[in-house]
């Protein structure tokens, strides 16, 4: 396994296990390397659109899709763990990545009214909802945090 893949796997395994994104120092300790080497890997993984470091703080991870490194309005409960997703797509993506049932607490994008989605036995429970894309695919990564 190459170094960047080892960094990526450590990050994903850590989030899946703990629900929290590790810092570059955490990953460095686990891989017996330096935080600077990990941060360089994070930047390369960002260029491949696999991770997003926190803007202005390369030691932290903002997004390891489908997981968010910060609390968001998409709260995903899997068994006793609570994860945060970057968007509705990623909220379902957490259930897909963990291959687990999930209850997703979210809110209507206009009214803020609470909404709940559920994945049970590998399928979303039917629910009246609409997912609107304001940004075309060619521009998603112009500002992926907004997208």
């Amino acid at each position: 396994m190459d170094f960047d893949t080892a960094v990526k796997m450590n990050i994903y395994e850590t989030i899946a296990r703990t629900t929290q994104a590790p810092t570059s120092a955490d990953v460095a300790e686990a891989l017996s390397t330096s935080p600077e080497a990990v941060e360089a890997a994070l930047e390369r993984l960002h260029k491949k659109r696999l991770l997003v470091p926190e803007p202005g703080n390369p030691s932290r991870i903002r997004m390891a899709p489908p997981f968010s490194g910060v609390e968001t309005s998409f709260r995903v409960k899997v068994q006793d763990n609570v994860y945060y997703a970057n968007c509705a797509w990623d909220a379902l993506g957490i259930a897909a990545a963990l291959q687990a049932d999930a209850i997703i607490e979210a809110a209507d994008g206009y009214s803020g009214e609470p909404m709940m989605l559920e994945v049970r036995n590998g399928q979303p429970v039917p629910q009246s909802c609409v997912i609107h894309f304001a940004v075309p695919a060619a521009r998603w990564w112009d500002d992926i945090i907004y997208t």
């Binding site: 897909a96 399928q123 609107h132």
Partner: protein, 79 residues
């Protein structure tokens, strides 16, 4: 993208921001995309689909045209 309870609240959101209404999808389409993107994300082999793969994946759930094409030139300078 944003989640809404109904098409009505999508319209209200767009009007409040002076933005054009753009494509929406349903929960089944979103689940297909989530599975395709992320079901192997915790494995060593996982990777993000490339642009041509994305076009094929979107087409499988009926999402076609330049809006869903990551290489579509017409959106590069659009607002």
């Amino acid at each position: 993208m944003l989640l809404f309870r109904s098409k009505e609240t999508v319209t209200q959101w767009c009007e409040a921001r002076g933005l054009p209404k753009r494509p929406s999808i349903n929960l089944d389409q979103l689940w297909y995309l989530a599975l395709t993107w992320y079901k192997n994300r915790l494995t060593v082999e996982s990777r993000r689909p490339g642009p041509d793969e994305m076009v094929e994946i979107f087409a499988r759930v009926g999402l076609e045209g330049p809006f869903w094409d990551p290489k579509a030139d017409q959106w590069q300078s659009a607002t």
